[in-house]
Each structure stands twice: as C-alpha cells, then as structure tokens.
Point group: C2
C-alpha cells in the first residue's frame, strides 16, 4: 500500500539508522514497539529499512520513502557524536539548510546550563530549516518533523516518549483489529481453504505463519482488518476449516487488539 | 558500501518478507542471527528491508538491491499458502519464467510421498528457471539461488540450515573483528576525542551507542574491522580517552569476535 487510498488507514515506513543492528550485536526492539503503537492508531507499518549511518544511504532512504507513504519515522543518529548524521542527511534529502534552531538551543541550555553546553552538545540544536521539534523529556536533545518525516532518537526510552508525543498530534486512522488462530495442522493442509477464505474476505488480511516449537511444526493464522464484524465472521469460518481438517484450534487467542 | 571495493569484505542486503514482523506481533529474530553469521564470514550486512508479502514490494526490493550488493538474502514466503509469493516475484524481478523444478519435485516427493504431494505442496517446486536449489533438511521444500539472490524460508530453524548451507558454498571475506568498550560517561563528553580517534583509524569503524539501564544512561563504544593489530591499537587509545575523562571502562568486553 502506498499513500492512503483507504481514508480509515494510513501508511508508514520506518527507517532504523545505525550499525549496531546490522552488526548483529543489538536486538532491534524498536520495530515491534513502533509497529504495535502505529497499528493501534490505524497506521499500517508497510516497510522497515535498517541502514548504516552513512550519508548516501540515509539520503536515499528518506528520498525513496517520504513520497510513497503517509508517514515516515526514523530512529537513531541524532546524538552528539561523529556517527550522528541524521539531521544533516535529512536536511540534504530535502535540499534544506541545517541551521541552529533557537528553540532547540533553549531546550539544551535549560537542561545542561550554558557552561555545560559543549560543542558536541550544541551540535544537537542543528536542525533542518523549516522543521518543527519533537520534545525529548529525557535528555533534552529534540527530534524533529520535516514534511512527513519524523526524526526520533534511537534509545528506546527516548524514542517511545517522542513517538507518543507525535501520535498525540498526527491524524490517526481506524484501529486495526487482529485475531490469531493457532492449530497443529501443516500449512499445506489448509492452504486451499484459506486461499478461498481470503478471496471471500478481501478486506481482511489473512497471514499464515508456520513455526517450530519443541521440534513440532505448528501454524498461526492471523486475521487483520478494521471491520470488527467481518473479522469475526472470517474467524468463525476459519475455525470451521480447521475443525473440518480434523484439528481443534489450540491456544486460541481470539483477542481483539484495539489498544 | 556497495559491491566490494575491499577484496577482503563482501557486502550484503537482507529482505525479510512477511506481514508478521510489520504488524508488531512477531519479534524478528532472523536479522541478528543472519547478521552475526555473515559477519563471521567476512560479509558485512549493509541493509535490511522488512516488506509485506505484496508483489510490487518484493519485485521492487529485489531489483533495487541485487545490483547494489555482492549478496542478497531473502527470508519468508516460500511455503504452500496464498501469501507465499516470493518465488513468483523473484522470477518476475529477473524476467524469468516460474517453472516446475524437477529436482525440487523429487525432494518433495521423497519427503511426502507422491499421494501426499497435494497441489499446495506441489506449488513449492515452482522455482524460477535458471535458479539452483538450497536444500531444506527440515520440511523438504527448497530455497533457491537466482544470480546473487539467496531465497530462504522464514521459519528460523529452516532458514538457519539453509544459510549454513549457502555459507559453505559462497566466497567468504576476512572475518570482521569487533571490540566493545562500555563506560558510564555521557556520549557528549567523549564525542570530540572519539571523532579524532575515528579520523586516525579510518579503517576501523567506531560506533557510539548510548543506552538506558535501570534509569542510568550508559555508553557502549563498538570498534569493528578486519585488521586485528589496528583494532587493538584503537581500543587501547579509546580506553585512555575514557580514563582521561575520569571514568573507568566498566563491563569491559574486549572480546574479539571471530567465530
């Protein structure tokens, strides 16, 4: 999905900037957190890119994604060190100047005091011209919004506060509801019936996810959509499909995620 | 980094195909596993894209990435259900036909028996013409290699077996070594010295990663490179920088990751 064709659902991309995830040493916990939060606000996360803190890569990702989706979110690279180049790259992606933002300067001055506002810290008030700020309640250095691109910190606690601030301001869609049905059938056993079910319920997205637990293959079928009645009807039919193939849906969690 | 300019290090991109990660319900454990495995083989993971199982998105990702990197790896979407469209999309990305692969058919026939080789299962022997297979020791349905694109299953246990098979065959680089130095200084305190250190050791990649643990900001500095002597020299200088700023590097793990 590109920019919203459905007025009830908005689309988004997430850009995770930094080498630590790509090196395999750090588990990316920001993606699932952001994905869940966006989903609850009727914003569908359509794409995630994890890229290194290299100028051409950041500029390319921003330029590719911001025209395509309603919202773009980035995390990482807005601190005081040599590898924190996100603000500079976002400015370049929009052919904007990187300027000292007086509001950001005041935020940092208030937090650190003017004497402790060393050059590395002062770097954090350099923001693309025309951007508005996202406050940082933890370490003062703000994120910012440039057109539809929301630039946030990478440290989870700070990013979470920034995203909650942003989600309080931007236009939300209808919450995306979700049901999960688990069984122990092989995926291929239900494949044809699930394909037919998907055709009947075009507005419900049905995903089929096989998994291994304790050496046994299991299957989770996930139904998602904004129409609660249709979601429940599709779930009921899916339960019948599984029973027809001789299995009783186990670990059934027909919880409707709307928060 | 694009295609290898350094003969000792190869570049790679990873494409995670499937809605489950984007919905936030599933933690992506494949990325850190693949990143570590590639790093140990001298293959630098330069980019990860997480995309939905939608044809235009998969085709676009493959076409964007395969000319840019030495290797591309994909996970997910090669099973028997309606949302398993990776093989078809990779074929389209290369303007190739999707054909019944006789070797794949024999693998599936041997695993399931001809009578149990239902149409959904038989779908898994449809492979782009010209591709070579990646064996699947768990459920028989193979992955495949099309030019430099390595198409693997999404289920971690199967993906891991497939990647190990591939890594036994493809050209490896020099192992990328890594040291981590942790301290409790704020990032801004060491920023200028670390910038100077990075300039001195251009061939060592130095990353600076602040984090919160128990309400306290801490800092991990990660040094990576293929030259062990230079890596150790840069680490020694970094330790001096931290001591100069009045902190003793805590939880120091100067382990050299080479396996």
């Amino acid at each position: 999905m590109a920019k919203s064709d459905d007025p009830d659902v908005f689309s988004a991309a997430l850009v995770i900037i930094g080498n630590e995830i790509l090196a395999g040493r750090t588990q990316d916990t920001n993606t699932p957190w952001i994905a869940e939060r966006l989903t609850a606000h009727g914003i569908l996360l359509n794409e995630v890119r994890i890229i290194p803190d290299e100028e051409p890569e950041i500029i390319h990702a921003v330029r590719s994604l911001y025209p395509k989706y309603d919202y773009v979110f980035t995390t990482g690279g807005i601190g005081p060190t040599h590898d924190d180049i996100t603000a500079d790259c976002v400015a370049k992606a929009f052919d904007a100047q990187l300027v000292r933002n007086e509001e950001a300067f005041r935020m940092l001055e208030e937090h650190y005091g003017l004497e402790e506002l060393t050059p590395p810290r002062a770097k954090m008030c350099m923001i693309p011209a025309g951007a508005s700020l996202i406050p940082n309640p933890v370490t003062a250095a703000p994120g910012f919004i440039m057109e539809n691109v929301h630039v946030m910190a990478g440290v989870p606690r700070i990013m979470q506060a920034m995203l909650d601030h942003v989600l309080g301001m931007i236009k939300a869609g209808k919450p995306i509801l979700s049901n999960t049905v688990a069984c122990s059938l092989p995926e291929s056993a239900v494949a044809e019936d699930v394909t037919a079910l998907q055709e009947t319920y075009a507005e419900i997205q049905i995903g089929s996810y096989p998994h291994y637990r304790g050496g046994v293959l299991g299957l989770s079928l996930v139904l998602r959509g904004t129409d609660k009645d249709r979601l429940e009807a599709a779930t009921a039919e899916l339960l019948e499909i599984i029973r027809k193939h001789g299995d009783e849906p186990r670990a059934l969690s027909i919880r409707t995620v709307d928060s």
